[in-house]
Symmetry: C2
Subunit: 420 residues, 2 copies
């Protein structure tokens, strides 16, 4: 088979290690120039393919590509752009194949979450129908850790480590001041649908007196009375109370706490922020002094405190996707298979995209303690290895030396424009 | 002179490196047992002295004391407790001397900010008057960086590094998603009175297109029109806009933006958070998608990303305070004297507490760019060395191995109780 080009795109919310995966894809492809001549990266994800706006990665030197391994964010640009069903929007799929054909692209690597796996799956089907079969490989990426089959998702381990370390550190601060100052500290973390990230906060301590004293999961309906009782007890017993709350925490009726009806001076509903809602509840009902932090993007971009396990796995799934492609596989995704907990061992396997697309893996009930405010030993066994190891970026003058690509565009071949 | 004991207390908001200073004090004192028999640490700061509630540091082994160097928070407990003037509350000062006399305490090391330096100064005066002269040494500590004479304050360099790194990382995230998602990102940082911490965010970039695109300082009256204009320009020119805002940002009339009148569903004024106020302003006036983070305690407890310069200086001021005491000095504080910018060199000198107590060093005008939204080259020259170097804590199972003291209490000698 003559060498063809590959197309690589990042999709959805970025992570501290999605570029590590890009590094794994490009470095592995470069070892097989006979089969993969070049990797074209979509500028702003799949939009780059639709608009024929691609970056020529052969124009980036080896040192730059290697530096992707330790650079957070999405180096080529990512996008929240979901292709519709084939029947609803055949034009988009046909355009993709048109671009792939024009640029001799035989491999499609799509690095994202559930939606992206669905897209990769559909592109595989459509390309075959249109007589230009492209090998479509999904590559897992999501801080939400909600892809099925794979034991965990690259991106999650690093956000988990960030949340556990931050909880541990802030708790030491609060405890040392609790006598005369703040008694309740609230850390808001991501996870709109599932409590994986909030659960990671639980790694900060192991004994009942250790922080966090309360975790609020999206999976456990919020019970104000039980919550306030627990805050009071924690302050009485331990002098302070550290709370990790998922942005997706909600009432039994499904309403998010973050939408609890806070209004600005003009009466407009105020968006965002479950932490201030919890804080105000604590103040109004218990009269306790509080502080809150909202980690937001800091948590998923914190490459400076990335998990070495996560970095290694993020690279491995990128490398494996290329290897699978070279073996002639299509419509599959590399998954992480846990072989043992202690010592932690894992390997890469493959799973068909059809079994992954559009499915969500929720935090299992057995990971949440009976009272609903903490994690179980089973959860610890699962989570603990994922945050293990440090993989520091290089520094210069006190700041991480993150790389910026030159982003030389691939010359357009098509005369038609496509508007997304 | 026969050996006497020393009293050490932590005061006010803690930092990532206040325990490093404690480590410097205790390790240095241990080298001079002939003169300093033991270091008693106040539990919860000066309250521990008033209530005769002290921790016997001789009961902590050398390894534990060494581990204080890399442990954030206040290991002995800190307090926001300000002694009043001598005339208003002579009883408190007399009680302090009574406790010092009962425990043979000849050295008083007070590790804090402006208020604490005032207290240390007064204790020196009162102890002499009461015929039990105690050598009183102030030791600088504050993330606010607002103590006079000293070039900078231990604690600041690490929060500055945290803010610069976090700004850099979150900006990479936002930029990569800006095409289809968030265009404006706001990071709220500490600094109610002075913009030192916000200024540190400016280190994340050097060119106009680099983040942060806007810094909002307490020193520059907030101009809504100019601000919104700049946000719009940044999004047009660079595709995104990263804003670092000080919690102390305020209008010309002195009113904090954080008090801008947000109310909850019951009409109660909502406390805290300048970031949501800025975010809402951006949404309501420009219709741009935003995200915001509130760093809060995470920034001042982030020992995992401490500045090596800061750690070294925090230790040095603790060591110097003990050395000054052994040289018979009193009512002084070790200060950091900058010898040169490039290469950065510094040494420890001494300054009288009378020149430090109750004085604030504000961010100089020449550090703020003409448009009021950024920092100048002079600011960079000053700030840059302070964040330099990494000083990672040891890790175990993916988490920093922070130390907890055994905190063996010193047996009480007095029959009277003192209620604070």
């Amino acid at each position: 088979m003559p060498a063809m080009n590959a197309f690589y795109a990042q999709s959805g919310g970025v992570t501290a290690v999605i570029n590590t995966t890009a590094c794994g894809v490009i470095e592995t492809a470069r070892k097989h120039r006979k089969h993969i001549a070049n990797v074209y990266a979509g500028r702003n994800g799949i939009i780059g393919a639709l608009t024929e706006d691609m970056i020529d990665t052969n124009r980036e030197n080896a040192k730059t590509i290697a530096a992707l391994r330790h650079t957070p964010g999405g180096a080529f640009g990512s996008a929240r752009y979901k292709l519709k069903g084939i029947e609803e929007n055949r034009a988009e799929y046909e355009r993709l194949i048109e671009v792939f054909r024009a640029h001799n692209i035989g491999y499609f690597f799509y690095n994202g979450g559930n939606d992206s796996m669905d897209t990769a799956h559909k592109v595989a089907q459509v390309s075959r129908k249109l007589g230009f079969p492209v090998q479509c490989l999904g590559i897992p990426k999501t801080v939400d850790n909600d892809l099925p089959i794979t034991d965990n998702c690259p991106g999650f381990g690093s956000v988990a480590k960030y949340v556990a370390v931050s909880t541990q550190e802030a708790a030491l601060d609060v405890l040392s001041m609790a006598k005369t100052s703040t008694k309740v500290f609230i850390l808001e973390v991501m996870g709109r649908h599932a409590g994986w990230i909030a659960a990671a906060g639980g790694l900060a301590g192991t004994r009942p007196e250790d922080p966090p004293h309360i975790i609020l999961f999206p999976e456990v309906p919020f019970n104000k009375r039980a919550f306030l009782k627990r805050v009071r007890e924690s302050v009485i017993k331990y002098d302070y109370c550290v709370i990790v709350v998922s942005e997706g925490a909600r009432y039994r009726n499904g309403k998010f706490l973050a939408e609890a009806g806070t209004r600005d001076a003009f009466g407009h509903a105020q968006l965002g922020g479950v932490a201030p809602v919890i804080a105000q509840m604590v103040r109004d009902n218990l009269g306790l002094k509080y502080h809150y932090a909202v980690a937001d993007y800091l948590q998923r971009s914190a490459r400076h405190i990335a998990s070495a396990t996560d970095v290694e796995q993020a690279y491995a799934v990128g490398r494996a996707a290329v290897q699978f492609a070279l073996q002639g596989k299509t419509a599959v995704m590399p998954v992480i298979k846990r072989v043992s907990d202690k010592p932690y061992r894992w390997r890469i396997e493959e799973a068909p995209l059809s079994r992954i697309a559009n499915k969500e893996k929720m935090l299992p009930k057995r990971y949440i303690s009976k009272d609903g405010f903490g994690i179980t030993e089973a959860a610890r066994r699962y989570l603990q290895p994922l945050i293990r190891g440090e993989d520091y970026p290089p520094y210069i003058n006190g700041l991480p030396r993150y790389v910026t690509l030159t982003k030389v565009p691939v010359a357009a071949q098509l005369k038609t424009k496509f508007v997304v």
